[in-house]
Symmetry: C2
Subunit: 322 residues, 2 copies
């Protein structure tokens, strides 16, 4: 079958990819549309020494299994099914997990993929394919609310106005937080259609004396650059929370004394549950489609990746079904 | 009055210290006994450019105010009384606070000190002076349980078998945790009189491949060396918690990606409430007195500080009332 393959930092479009095998308890899905994520770009740049089919944001149609014939999206962590985490219904922290398009499991940038039946969720009719490709990153953004009590963390700062930062800002605004998005593109806050303040300059290297006092209850790191962490510690009140949403490839040097003195919490946050994201998409209360910068047929995947890497780009989608 | 004074990294015993002034809503206390803490040693070494009377672990007798004539201990953060934190009855995070013997408020290594009335707690009869000097650090140790649900964090690792590490291990064991203390002095775990496992080597620089897997729910950093943090991230399960109990003077370099991938929480933790610590001391369920290495009259304070700094020392007390 046709799909994209990354090996040794090179992306190729191949027609000889193996079909996903039939497997008990798993379904195969025909991919219709998929989104390029910063993680895909990092994998292409060599992150985790990745070799394989990337892609983990998709919508498609189930070819077999309990949802056969229906439009589906799929949670990306495939667990062993028998460990404590899996038995509790949450494969996100199964130690033996594979992760769609990221670790040990061929991804969504191909005509077909396979995932455990339990990972798949039908897409409500009111949610377009384009919106549905945002289910995964929107779930990750909404997941902040699973670990932070937004009732006591109303004043939220989101650092970074890239794809993930925008989704985090939108997700928090949707949940009633008073959100300030800090980035370099003031016009992007308007894309959200939700009340979000915008600030610039607070995270820049030469802005040592800039920025607010410790007036935020919550700060979300979504720049992909953990070097902003010392600044975020300064912007958050005592006993407030900093959420790290992005991994970085190199160690960060940070003075953690303020975290101790001010008794702040630093929380790592990764994947969310899809049901909450589908609810939001169906409600139309947060229209994610303005975040789409471009769509490309899979045959032009190389151009799509180039476009995604261009300054100013947000979400670039790949079409498989057209 | 007589007391100790630190200035430019030099400790002197002085007889000309100013008496604490009478102040509305404050009490004066005659200090009987005081404990030397690692923070005092850091202040002497130049931490925070400290100049003044150090000391914040004490027991004494109230000379005026609501507890006049009674033995008291005192919480060390003196708030402004009018900010949001103070109005909520918690001056620990008042932005304008002074801190006994640490920041802007003459400390306990003197014949007399002053604190707000609300900071003072009477010492129950069953608690000796010696035990009562541990109220402050024991409260800090017990405070871990205020921010971490020990029901879901039963398997606890405490890094560091110094004074604070031992108190943290004891406090957690007392609260029902299954505690492993990691340090260099196996004999110290026995001092606690509580069931605590001991391990060594897991935190050493040359122990890259040593140590357990991610089998702990909770790790407490009490070594004073934040460089152990990357190791602690490895020892804690996904969605587990790492508590930082000590501040360090220099930045730490740490790869925070595991924190994100495993969705761990890093929590800064400082001062606890004294009532809980006095309850523990009165219950006799945790006898802290074996942690006393030596007692010195205040006239021999220099020798006391030297003893406290010696390898193998635990708590050194200063006697004022003898």
């Amino acid at each position: 079958m046709r799909g994209l393959y990354i090996d040794h930092g090179k992306l190729t479009l191949r027609d000889d990819l193996p079909e996903p095998a039939a497997r008990d308890g798993w379904s195969r899905v025909e991919v219709h549309r998929a989104g390029i994520c910063a993680t895909d770009q990092a994998l292409l740049a060599g992150y985790m020494g990745f070799a394989g089919v990337p892609g983990h944001e998709f919508v498609g149609v189930a070819l077999d299994g309990p949802h056969v014939g229906r439009r589906v999206v799929g949670e990306i962590n495939a667990g062993c099914g028998s460990c404590e985490a899996c038995r509790a219904g949450d494969s996100r922290h199964c130690e033996a997990r594979t992760v769609l398009g990221i670790a040990g499991l061929a991804g969504a940038f191909a005509e077909r993929l396979a995932l455990p039946n339990d990972n798949l969720l039908p897409v409500p009719d009111g949610v377009t394919d384009e919106a549905a490709t945002f289910t995964e990153p929107l779930a990750a953004a909404l997941h902040i609310g699973d670990d932070v009590d937004l009732a006591t963390h109303r004043r939220a700062l989101v650092a970074g106005d890239g794809k993930l930062g925008l989704l985090c800002a939108g997700a928090l605004a949707l949940r009633g937080a008073d959100v300030t998005l800090v980035g370099r593109h003031p016009e992007r806050a308007d894309l959200l259609g939700l009340p979000v303040n915008f600030a610039t300059g607070w995270l820049e290297d030469d802005a040592d004396d800039d920025g607010p006092g410790p007036e935020f209850d919550l700060a979300v790191e979504a720049t992909g650059n953990a070097d902003v962490l010392p600044r975020l510690l300064r912007f958050v009140r005592p006993r407030g929370t900093i959420v790290l949403k992005t991994t970085t490839e190199r160690p960060t040097t940070v003075d953690l004394s303020p975290l101790v003195v001010n008794e702040q919490r630093l929380i790592g946050s990764r994947c969310g549950r899809f049901a909450a994201a589908l609810d939001v998409l169906q409600s139309q209360r947060f229209d994610v489609r303005p975040l789409v910068t471009a769509r490309y047929p899979v045959a032009e995947a190389e151009a799509a990746f180039e476009h995604a890497a261009r300054r100013g780009s947000l979400k670039v989608l790949l079409d498989f079904a057209d």
